[in-house]
């Protein structure tokens, strides 16, 4: 995930008929069409449909932008996802650095521990956090019993709880993409910097961080999209008091049976994620271009 190939490889000279290349792509195209393009089309179609009369309408969109609740939900989703992306990347970076560079025998253990959360299901892990963060949960109970606080701290059913839970869920993915990126940096660069008098901290600041920007960007992107599309964790830890688009869509479908409005919210969520991904990828390509342009000028 550290680099995203944006250009197709040039056709090989004298390669056999191009159609054979498309033939290889056919199965995956078919699968994508059936399971991705079709449902997507249906969803877009539904967003323009009145739930009762099934006649075409723009009312769903009008409602999304005017009822206030929907835009607030979008805003909450964005804030939550940004916080999760930042937390995952900041917390994951030191672990990823260790995993990428360590040759100690503890490395395998740390790697297993870093990825182990993925083995337990999302719901299980989220319940774990609920037990810890609830009003009658572990932390509040302990603090009350110690006499440090009189009434429970608001640790659950809010942004804080959801960010904590999602960070835990998404962290392994952030660590993986950061590790790949840091592993791609020649260890001799660090040694070279050290020989030139750079302290451990300077090596990280001047060599490792700038060179792992692609990994940081992809970690941010993965975390953001995973957080924005997560359902179980915000549902359990955010509850009715902290609703994000994913939980609101679920509500619309199950309780209000308003598929049209749910479709609009889903499209809004999708557009937000696409926009963020687009920004991230463009930043990366621009950075790459800038460097090669400067090289071009010089030579």
């Amino acid at each position: 995930m550290s680099t995203i190939a944006l250009t197709a490889p040039a056709a090989m000279p004298g390669a056999p008929a191009r159609s054979s290349g498309y033939l290889v792509l056919a199965p995956s195209c078919l699968v994508l069409t059936i399971f991705f393009a079709l449902p997507m089309g249906t969803m877009i179609g539904m967003s323009f449909m009145d739930a009762q009369t099934l006649s075409p309408t723009l009312l769903n969109y009008q409602r999304f932008f005017s009822d206030g609740l929907s835009l607030a939900g979008l805003y909450r989703t964005a804030v939550m996802s940004i916080l999760v992306a930042v937390c995952v990347t900041v917390l994951g970076y030191p672990v990823a650095y260790y995993l990428a560079r360590s040759r100690s025998r503890w490395r395998a253990l740390v790697f297993a521990l870093a990825l182990a959360p993925e083995l337990a299901g999302v719901v299980l892990r989220t319940y774990g956090w609920l037990i810890i963060l609830e009003d009658r949960g572990f932390i509040n109970d302990m603090l009350i019993n110690l006499g440090l606080i009189a009434s429970p701290l608001p640790l659950s059913k809010n942004l804080f709880a959801v960010v904590v839970g999602l960070t835990h869920v998404v962290l392994p993915f952030g660590i993986l993409s950061l590790t790949t990126s840091i592993q791609g940096i020649d260890p001799n660069l660090e040694r070279a910097a050290q020989m030139l008098g750079a302290s451990r901290l300077s090596v990280i600041r001047h060599i490792i961080l700038p060179l792992s920007v692609p990994g940081i960007v992809s970690s941010l992107l993965i975390s953001f999209t995973m957080a924005a599309s997560a359902y179980a964790t915000p549902a359990l830890l955010g509850g009715a008091r902290f609703k994000v688009l994913a939980t609101m869509i679920y509500e619309q479908v199950l309780f209000y049976i308003d598929w049209g409005f749910a479709a609009v919210m889903a499209i809004a969520l999708l557009i937000m994620m696409l926009a963020i991904s687009f920004l991230g990828i463009r930043y990366e390509t621009r950075r790459g271009n800038r460097r090669s342009n400067r090289e071009g000028e010089a030579s």
């Binding site: 040694r191 070279a192 050290q194 302290s199």
Partner: protein, 360 residues
Amino acid sequence: MNSFDIELVSVSKSFAGIPVVQDLNLQIPRGEFVSILGPSGCGKTTTLNMIAGFNTPSSGDVRVRGKSQNRIPPERRNLGLVFQNYALFPHMTVAENVGFGLRMRGTPKAEIGKAVDAALRSVRLDGFGSRYPKALSGGQQQRVALARAIAPKPSVLLLDEPLSNLDLKLREAMRIELKEIQEQLDMTFVYVTHDQEEAMAMSDRIVVMWQGAIAQQGEPASIYRNPATRFVADFVGRSNILSVRRSIPGPTFLELCIDGTQIVLRSDCAGNNAVQSCCIRPESIALLNGSDSGTGPQNRLDGVVRRIVNLGAHVELLVEVATGLSLMVLVPSSRSSLVPELASTVTLGIDPQDVQVLSD
């Protein structure tokens, strides 16, 4: 204060119980170009890493200008290091690369600029400062790496096979240039290589390492002329190594009976009767004309030419002088009239001073 820039005092290093360097003692005087030469796995890179500070000796002491370095991390040893793969920072321009060491030392910007220009000039890369490493050729990148290492004026420059990624022509040109730069800067260079020609061409002194220990050290010419052990004779240059069955010390020379043959060679070396082997460089063997006698070399052997290999500047002959014993003989191509035909009989002459006694 003594005049040694680097001293290794009975340094040993083992990895996971496997000894890599054993009881190494080495003193490198200030301003010398010293090569540590050996085949891969001989411990030369480990030795370099212990000097640089990336490996800590299992026992013994590494000293730089008389000061023990065992507890000092690499970034505070004030040594320079040039890597085989250059290890240039890809996200920095050439000037930023070269200035990095000074920046880390907190040198003012204006001074860094001057020092960078001077360093780039000394490697003949002035005007390349604003480029990125990727836009340079391998040879230019290696020069940048060199400029980067010398810009902060380290007390010693360590070089880890810096030329082995370059093609032959460039490598040969860089040898001369490296030596010139070293002399200009009057800096101590410790050069690790497995290429004996490279070591020969540049060094004031060569330290030949084998199996974690020093096999021999000395000036390039003396190592070539007087290899001490069978390994050094074999590794440095080409040689005919003969097993000795018996050696008889004479009044001014040593008589060596070559194993499995009736051949007796005279050597000017001092020695005893425990000599195991001897070495004769192929270029020191002369092809004698039948009429040539008396005043020439004292060892004369008749043999049959079994193989002729043209090496360009030289022609290599394989001459069978006894059953199971062939000698390699190098004849300059310029004297091609002397080159005999295949399967013809020739007489070889070997000066006793060219028969070198080896210890194992």
